[in-house]
């Protein structure tokens, strides 16, 4: 009798142990993951003064896919991809050491729209975060050609005041990495 009971308990605990499951982890909000490149725009005539851009749209070069600047707007709203601020954040490729963008100034204005192509060269490092977040990529902009503006003869970005790299090692979005003058 007693022996049978014990055997039953053994079988029962076996069933329970099998049905146990693992909880799914979610990457916590606020975790520092892959940082975007932070760019600030300055006045080329007064290099210490921040200057707002006018309806700037940034796309991965040649793709026509805009970087999102207003996440609160609907995906079919043009303004979602436009900015009039003096500071922007754009994503770099985590699978390539070069990211090239079309910086379209005064986007949608048929007479004034001006596209400048900017190339960023960097090295990458993949860093472990946690089980839930996986890995992130940190970037280090090349010292000599970290940022290059393609000269197309009619750049809106200043060619006399060259862009500067303020923080070559990109590990978070709390600091300005690059300054662009126009």
């Amino acid at each position: 009798m007693m022996k049978n009971n014990i055997i039953l308990i053994v079988l029962f605990s076996f069933t329970i142990s099998f049905s146990s499951c693992e909880k799914d982890d979610i990457c916590a909000e606020g975790t520092i993951t892959t940082p975007r490149l932070v760019i600030e725009f300055y006045d080329a005539t007064d290099t210490s003064t921040l200057k707002n851009v006018t309806n700037l749209r940034v796309e991965e070069a040649g793709t026509g896919i805009g970087v999102v600047f207003n996440t609160s707007l609907a995906t079919d709203n043009e303004a979602r991809y436009l900015t009039n601020a003096s500071k922007i954040e754009i994503p770099l490729k985590t699978f390539d050491d070069v990211s090239q963008f079309d910086f379209k100034f005064d986007y949608g204005n048929s007479t004034n729209e001006n596209n400048d192509v900017i190339t960023f060269n960097y090295t990458r490092e993949d860093i472990y975060i946690s089980r839930a977040c996986g890995y992130k990529t940190n970037f280090t902009l090349d010292a000599t050609n970290g940022i290059q503006v393609t000269n197309d003869g009619s750049n809106w970005i200043s060619s006399t005041v060259q862009p500067t790299i303020e923080q070559a090692i990109i590990t978070n979005e709390n600091e300005v990495h690059v300054k662009i003058y126009f």
């Binding site: 014990i6 076996f14 970087v67 994503p91 975060i129 089980r131």
Partner: protein, 226 residues
């Protein structure tokens, strides 16, 4: 009424029977019990991402105390959201079991609690990982890595609770559950010990859990009256 009298007399007889039994001394058998973890064994067959084997053993030291241990080897592929890795390693656990079960007559079942010290030596191969990029502008970037993280080890304490029942002559079926507490953990560079052979999945804290389901054979060595 007749039925009740019959039952009652049956009960009295059974009590009498018990009273008689208590005067008779059943010698206790002492020896070594060796067995295998059926869970790890069967999982190796039905789960193509797992290969493992655990040999268990105990030696009866006194009427209630057993020296107990486990030795095992595991190879497990973990397929998480953010990465896929394979952990391989060997572990060893040693400690004791205390049998809290008062056996009737000559029965030799166990309901026990115990402790173990566990050590494990292992390595991970990171098969692939996905970069966490909240913008997702370029889509998911999953990298086939193949990076190896060797020479890792961990040590932990286990609190064990379990049962062992004698199925038939000297053959026992057992189950145990374990709560693990990680004491030391040599972490790899740029990865983590998300799975430790013998300890199982690790969590943010130091606690873990495990179980086994054993079939073992008792080899009697000597008998004692207590």
């Amino acid at each position: 009424m007749l039925k009740y009298i019959f039952s009652l007399s049956f009960l009295v007889i059974s009590f009498l029977g018990n009273a008689q039994d208590s005067t008779k001394v059943y010698p206790q058998r002492y020896g070594v019990r060796v067995g295998i973890d059926l869970h790890r064994l069967t999982k190796s067959f039905y789960d193509d991402k797992y290969k493992g084997l655990e040999i268990v053993g105990d030696y009866r030291l006194t009427k209630k105390f057993y020296i107990a241990g486990e030795i095992g080897n595991e190879e497990k592929e973990v397929d998480d959201d953010r990465f896929n890795f394979t952990t391989k390693g060997t572990y060893f656990k040693i400690g004791f079991d205390y049998n809290a079960f008062e056996n009737w007559l000559d029965m030799e079942n166990m309901i026990y609690a115990g402790m173990r010290v566990g050590v494990s030596s292992f390595s991970h191969t990171l098969n692939s990982y996905t970069i966490y990029d909240p913008t997702n502008y370029y889509g998911e970037n999953t990298i086939s890595s193949g990076d190896e993280f060797d020479g890792l080890n961990a040590a932990w304490l286990e609190v064990v609770g379990g049962l062992k029942a004698e199925l038939f002559n000297n053959v026992y079926l057992g189950v145990s559950v374990r709560l693990n507490y990680l004491v030391s953990n040599k972490q790899p560079d740029n990865f983590d010990n998300l799975y430790i052979p013998g300890f199982n999945r690790t969590y943010d804290g130091k606690f873990g859990a495990g179980f086994n389901y054993t079939l073992s054979y008792f080899i009697p060595i000597y008998k004692k009256n207590k």
